[in-house]
């Protein structure tokens, strides 16, 4: 994963890189392909007015505005995945069958404030 040091006080909400390596979790013997995949994750703040520029719901923009004027009463919106992609995994099962499974929503393509 690429960590974003807090050099800028409020890095905006965005997708950060996270690569899951099946070898590192010890699954490389029975997962035939892929060797790993870019899962990514969301990190960053949804402060006003930045939240207006990120693919946010209208409500999230309102909430970020409320947070900016009364932080003690309203928390900022959350930085979450808003667009995801599937992956396919090829592996052996315990009966030596070769299995292909399709998993929806495994890769974060885009983050937004909600």
């Amino acid at each position: 994963a690429t960590h974003h040091s807090p050099d800028s006080p409020d890095p905006p909400c965005a997708a950060r890189q996270l690569y899951i390596n099946f070898q590192e979790v010890g699954w490389h013997n029975w997962i035939i392909a892929p060797r790993g995949f870019m899962a990514n994750y969301c990190q960053g703040h949804c402060f006003f007015p930045t939240a207006t520029k990120i693919s946010s719901l209208n409500h999230a923009v309102m909430q970020s505005l409320m947070h900016s004027v009364a932080p003690a009463t309203t928390p900022p919106p959350c930085c979450v995945p808003v667009k995801l992609s599937p992956i396919s995994v090829l592996f052996y099962d315990n009966s030596d069958n070769v299995v292909l499974r399709h998993y929806e929503d495994m890769v974060v393509d885009e983050c937004g404030c909600r």
Partner: protein, 232 residues
């Protein structure tokens, strides 16, 4: 070794079970590689126009709904075929272990593939009659095959055994959602379509070169998320 609770929870969420032994050495069938590559390409829908984006939970190449494809080898492949009775050239039991089928999965394709290994000069213009029967009931060990109760499912005449042959088992009404068999026992009979002497030893070679496999496609609705609502 022992799995951490986190790994166990993750595997369970993905519907996977940890391997129970050393990795198998069987080669990955080309059809599975092809489906995997198609699935991987289709997973990049961003750069596709909306109307040609792949349907979620659909196996495009096979034209059926599904999100789990399994390639199952004949469990009796290593057993030599028994002496064929009468004018049969080959009488081969086929056995498929389907205990992996989960009730929450819907069967959408069960395709039997018979690959005789393109037996070169085995009477190329011979023509063959194939018959597929379901073996029923327990079989006493040592009892000759033809004593085994069987129900003929289909018969087909093919010009040659050069190319792989495919049989849609679901269309035979053999399996439906409510009748999930834990295994599938079949008997394949092969005999020449025309009289005439076959090269000596060709039938036993046919039995040895036969590779039978099942391609089983199922749909687990729980893994299919509804399409995200458009933002108002």
């Amino acid at each position: 070794g022992a799995l951490s609770p986190q790994a166990s929870a993750l595997l369970q969420t993905l519907g996977l079970s940890p391997p129970s032994g050393p990795p198998p050495t069987r080669p990955v069938p080309s059809v599975m590689w092809r489906l995997f590559q198609r699935g991987t390409e289709a997973a990049e829908p961003q750069d596709l126009p909306q109307e040609s984006q792949p349907l979620p939970c659909h196996v495009e190449e096979l034209g059926v709904p599904g999100n789990i494809v399994r390639h199952v080898l004949d469990g009796g492949a290593s057993a030599p075929p028994e002496p064929a009775s009468g004018s049969l050239c080959l009488e081969k039991p086929l056995f498929f272990n389907l205990s992996f089928l989960d009730l929450k999965e819907q069967l959408t394709l069960v395709r039997l593939e018979l690959n005789f290994g393109a037996p070169g000069d085995l009477a190329p213009d011979q023509g063959w009659e194939l018959s597929l029967a379901q073996a029923q009931g327990p079989r006493l060990w040592g009892q000759p095959l033809h004593w085994h109760q069987r129900e003929v499912l289909l018969s087909r005449t093919v010009p040659s055994l050069r190319d792989p042959l495919y049989f849609d088992m679901l269309s035979l009404g053999l399996m439906g959602n409510s009748t999930f068999p834990h295994n599938l026992s079949l008997v394949l009979e092969v005999l020449p379509a025309r009289e005439g002497a076959l090269p000596p030893g060709s039938c036993s070679m046919l039995g040895r070169s036969l590779e039978a496999s099942l391609l089983v496609v199922t749909l687990d609705p729980q893994l299919c998320q509804p399409a995200p609502r458009k933002r108002r």
